[in-house]
């Protein structure tokens, strides 16, 4: 039990340090941490559907965008406070997931991935088209508000909540059932597992986090437009973070988000164009050398629980 206790103590200290950070950190540091929180929430959410059930969502940023627009519209048109708008953003993303998940989760393998890619393009086209509500290509400007530190905390809570959710799911029988869908969907059905229902639940859970952080990011940036909240690159980044850290594990997406974000920042500052090359190289290296990711590799090799 020693390592476990040490881990818990470390975790508490880390949370305390992160909570105290805005008081001592630089403006850049706080913004960077805020971004890391966002990526943790996004990657951990993607892991819930794709890491566990094996249904690769290639359009997960659609939920981020749906949340961003839901939040921005509620703030500007209905005068909602941003924390309430953020929760509504999560709900809005879940509604999209429900509508799209029901038909799309019946598709297998690459067909699901492509359908999700399409969903993202459709949503982007829709928000561009309905100008009255969304401002179309002009986007939406939110009222000016200095809220970096409050948003930092909100992002932190969102990241912690999604990670806790992942822990609860992965250590539960429900989580195991999700994994049977990845392992062998036919056998799962034959053993009495309602795979369609389980996939939909996982999909809904995986949409809430991106919806919330989408709305928070909208508040933070103060301005959104279709191309800024529905970029395919964001989905790819989530995927790479999870693959790097270890899909299907609790801490893999966290590790992936931190390592990739930090390395991207470091390279980005020095070599503006090289970071894309770095990103591409990481994808190739991970897929070739350790398809399970860092923690997945350790887990298999040393028989560790998925909660690493």
């Amino acid at each position: 039990m020693r390592p476990r206790t040490a881990f818990r103590v470390g975790l508490v200290l880390l949370v305390a340090a992160l909570a105290a950070y805005p008081a001592v950190g630089t403006g850049y540091g706080v913004r960077a941490m805020l971004q890391i929180f966002m990526w943790v929430a996004l990657a951990a959410s993607w892991n819930l559907i794709s890491g566990l059930t094996g249904y690769v969502s290639f359009g997960h940023v659609a939920f981020f965008g749906a949340g961003a627009y839901t939040g921005a519209i509620l703030i500007t048109s209905a005068g909602w406070s941003w924390p309430a708008a953020a929760l509504a953003g999560g709900l809005g993303a879940c509604v999209v997931a429900l509508v799209i998940g029901y038909p799309c989760l019946r598709l297998k393998g690459p067909y699901f991935a492509i359908a999700m890619l399409g969903l993202n393009e459709v949503l982007r086209a829709l928000v561009s088209y309905f100008e009255g509500l969304t401002g179309g290509g002009n986007g939406i400007s939110l009222p000016t508000l200095e809220a970096t530190v409050p948003v930092y905390y909100a992002m932190g809570v969102a990241a912690a909540a999604v990670t806790l959710l992942a822990y609860l799911v992965i250590t539960s029988r429900f989580g195991l059932r999700l994994m049977t869908i990845r392992e062998d969907e036919v056998a799962a059905e034959a053993m009495g597992i309602d795979t369609a229902r389980h996939k939909l639940y996982a999909f809904l859970l995986s949409a809430a986090g991106p919806g919330i952080v989408g709305a928070l990011a909208a508040r933070d940036q103060g301005y959104i437009e279709p191309i800024s909240v529905f970029p395919l690159a964001t989905t790819i980044t989530m995927i790479v973070m999870v693959l790097f850290g270890g899909k299907g594990t609790v801490w893999g997406p966290v590790l992936g988000a931190v390592v990739l974000f930090v390395s991207q920042e470091l390279v980005w500052a020095r070599f503006p164009y090289l970071h894309q090359l770095l990103f591409g190289s990481i994808i190739v290296a991970v897929v070739l050398l350790m398809p399970r990711g860092v923690l997945g590799l350790l887990q298999q090799k040393y028989h560790l629980p998925r909660t690493i």
């Binding site: 195991l176 994994m179 990845r182 392992e183 309602d194």
Partner: protein
């Protein structure tokens, strides 16, 4: 005659014009062991798939406990009390042996774990409960698949070649387990190529050839049946 547990009436399924199962009718009574034999490609596995909902039948009716189950989703059929294993092993490779059993249960997890450990001990895998199922040997995976079916306590168990790849000592235990299940009132239908297993275990044997049922009866009678011999060895 008691009311049949499973009743198949005129079941047909074809793939691209080839009739894999052709108007097959049969009935299984509770508490008995049945065998399903036939040359390769005679439709045994397709019949299993149609009963368990993995494949949609083209025509015919399947009743379980008097209720129509054809057209139901596989999980709905499983929940009514039909368990099955697969010809090609389908354990969940990245779940441990224990998790493979736990994942199919409902209700109390503690109770399920006690039962799962007991079953794994029974098939002599108690030293491997935390091993990933994918790392187990072929025969061990078959055993995991077999006891996984028992976790749900089904009243009808369909076994697709349970003996393949299982060593002799374990095989005897396995056959003994099947008999004990029968004594507990379960019904078992098994597809098996090992004739010794079929003849020693089954009370009634159905023979399929080119998707049609060509014979039905006790093993002794089946072995002497002209059409069966012809189906297996040619004229």
């Amino acid at each position: 005659m008691t009311r049949p547990l499973l009743e198949i009436e005129g079941l047909s399924k074809s793939f691209g014009g080839v009739a894999a199962v052709d108007r097959v009718s049969l009935a299984l009574e509770p508490g008995r062991i049945y065998g399903l034999i036939g040359p390769n490609g005679s439709g045994k596995t397709t019949l299993f798939h149609c009963v368990t909902g993995v494949e949609r039948r083209d025509a015919g009716r399947v009743r379980f406990n008097g209720e129509r189950i054809d057209g139901l989703e596989p999980h709905a059929i499983a929940r009514r009390g039909i368990g099955r294993t697969f010809q090609i092993i389908r354990v969940f490779p990245e779940l441990t042996a224990l998790e493979n059993l736990l994942v199919v249960t409902r209700g109390s997890l503690a109770g399920a774990e006690a039962r799962a450990r007991e079953l794994l001990r029974f098939v002599k895998l108690d030293g491997l409960v935390h091993e990933y199922a994918g790392n187990l040997s072929y025969g061990q995976q078959r055993l995991v698949e077999f006891v996984r079916v028992l976790m749900r306590d089904p009243s009808l168990i369909l076994l697709d070649e349970p003996a393949a790849g299982v060593n002799r000592t374990l095989l005897n235990d396995l056959l003994e387990a099947v008999r004990r299940l029968r004594d507990d009132g379960k019904t078992i239908l098994l597809v098996e190529h090992d004739m010794k297993v079929v003849m020693g275990l089954c009370e009634t044997v159905f023979v399929l050839d080119h998707g049609e049922k060509i014979a039905e009866g006790p093993p002794g009678v089946i072995q002497a049946d002209e059409r069966v011999i012809e189906a297996y060895f040619g004229r």
